[in-house]
């Protein structure tokens, strides 16, 4: 199935990518779940730019995920595309024409780097696509394809697989949906799974349970990836977390980040499984997802238990990631202010102790709240893992170290006062 008159269907890259019409189910979900504004942006950009490509392209990210999951209330708010590096110049020229016609704005292109290190030869093109009601953000990734990644012996050169989804380098299936009359390529369910697994590896690699050696902070996206992965159509929820952990190193090349992510998730999952099912008084635990949904007064318009459970988990992940982020920022900001006060030679010990006591009170309150969250987690409810995963980082890397430091300083200040 060809999209573009320019498409080089006989190229080695195209031969590795099967392009098929989307099933009625996927087309219907796309129609129902993607907003009219996003559809407008997608049809505009694909018909004017990507459908002119010579090599395969596909929408990935949320516009690929949402049609491949049965239950989700999420609405994609941006647009991610992968395409061949060979098409980069032509894509950019077409986008420049659109910019000149005021159909897009803020057009830019940059070479990507691997984990903030060396440049990797892939390019990201960014712009905002004009729609009837505003703008939709697009990030399009020009990535290596077959010809760049094959070595002299015609084997895939792992080191050049520099995009998360490398079309034309490995076997992929792309599904074509019709959007406002335009044919649009979206990744298959397998593509969505591969993307989330690889992204989870990247993000969890930054989340080292054993300490501060990596960049340090739990990325809230990582939790959302876990949820998205276990929510794809083809997943059996009961086995999904074990499978996800196993699959993190499934894709080549297996990076150090993927191994760290696997280890971190395994550690966290093992910890989760040691939690008690009941409270000390024998009462069954409510479950943290259920608790967060209840206290936030959220109700879903469904009588289907499975749908209710999935939507509850999806929402609870949003709540806990937002909350942990706010608390991390609050604790860090307060601590930085205290450090400034400490560095100010004019600060009296009594003033510093008052500041410390206020911070300890605030930290103790936060700590108590998360302790309560932990006490509500029910290990028999695997949905709870997605929200539980946010908590250890907050306790181990923020609450407890700051509390220790403040008490140590308090002890020193008390001695100095005498």
């Amino acid at each position: 199935m060809n999209i573009s008159p320019n498409y080089l269907a006989d190229s080695a890259e195209a031969k590795l990518v099967e392009i098929i019409p989307a099933s009625e189910k996927i087309q219907k979900r796309f129609n129902d779940k993607i907003s009219p504004d996003m559809k407008e942006a997608i049809s505009t950009i694909c018909s004017q730019v990507f459908n002119k490509c010579q090599y395969p392209y596909a929408l990935i990210g949320s516009n690929c995920y949402i049609p491949h999951t049965e239950h989700s209330e999420k609405i994609p708010d941006d647009l991610d595309v992968v395409f061949g590096i060979q098409d980069r110049d032509n894509v950019y020229v077409e986008l420049q024409k659109m910019a000149a016609d005021n159909q897009i704005k803020d057009l830019s292109m940059e070479e990507l780097q691997k984990f903030g290190k060396e440049k990797n030869g892939c390019f990201k093109i960014h712009c905002l696509i004009k729609t009837e009601n505003g703008y939709k953000e697009m990030e399009a990734f020009a990535q290596n394809m077959n010809s760049e990644v094959m070595d002299n012996e015609n084997k895939i050169n792992d080191t050049k697989l520099n995009g998360i989804i490398n079309l034309g380098a490995e076997k992929q299936t792309i599904e074509v949906v019709l959007v406002n009359g335009a044919k649009v390529n979206i990744g298959s369910e397998k593509t969505a799974e591969e993307l989330y697994l690889k992204n989870t590896a990247n993000e969890f690699a930054l989340y080292n349970l054993n300490g501060w050696d990596h960049k340090g902070s739990l990325n809230p996206k990582a939790l959302q990836r876990i949820f998205n992965l276990i929510n794809l159509d083809g997943q059996k929820f009961e086995d999904s977390i074990d499978l996800m952990i196993k699959n993190i190193t499934r894709y080549k090349p297996v990076t150090d980040e993927a191994r760290v992510a696997q280890e971190s998730l395994q550690h966290l999952w093992a910890k989760f499984k040691t939690l008690e099912v009941n409270h000390r008084n024998g009462e069954k635990k409510e479950g943290l997802v259920n608790h967060l949904i209840k206290v936030n007064g959220i109700k879903f318009d469904t009588t289907d238990d499975r749908e209710n459970k999935i939507l509850s988990t999806e929402k609870a992940v949003d709540i806990i990631t937002q909350k942990t982020k706010e608390d991390m920022v609050l604790m860090s900001t307060n601590f930085e202010e205290y450090k400034k006060l400490l560095e100010n030679k004019g600060s009296a010990p009594a003033e510093l102790i008052t500041n410390i006591d206020n911070q300890i009170l605030s930290l103790s309150t936060i700590s108590k709240e998360y302790k309560k969250y932990l006490s509500l987690v029910n290990k028999d409810d695997k949905n709870d893992f997605c929200v539980y995963a946010a908590i250890p980082q907050l306790r181990d890397h923020f609450i407890l170290p700051i509390l220790t430091k403040l008490n140590r300083d308090r002890m020193k200040l008390e001695k100095n006062k005498k």
């Binding site: 990210g61 999420k74 609405i75 809230p220 929402k315 982020k325 103790s364 932990l374 908590i391």
Partner: protein
Amino acid sequence: MNSNNNQNQIKKMDATTNNDGASGLPTPPISKEEHEENKKAMSRADFIDQMRKSQPDMNLEEIEELADEIYSNGEGLGQ
């Protein structure tokens, strides 16, 4: 189902190997080494003593639980 809930939108995807890891989150303000040093410099009993002076209204059991978490090398998460 409310399919138009704009507050529930998917977070932006980073579909590349480009990842600064920051995502707007603060880095932990205290290094692992400094935390270990702080623990060595102050005994569990000193920690409890300071906490009681700082927060006289706080329940002793809660203070001890915090001390347990800190002085058990971060293995106190499975509560």
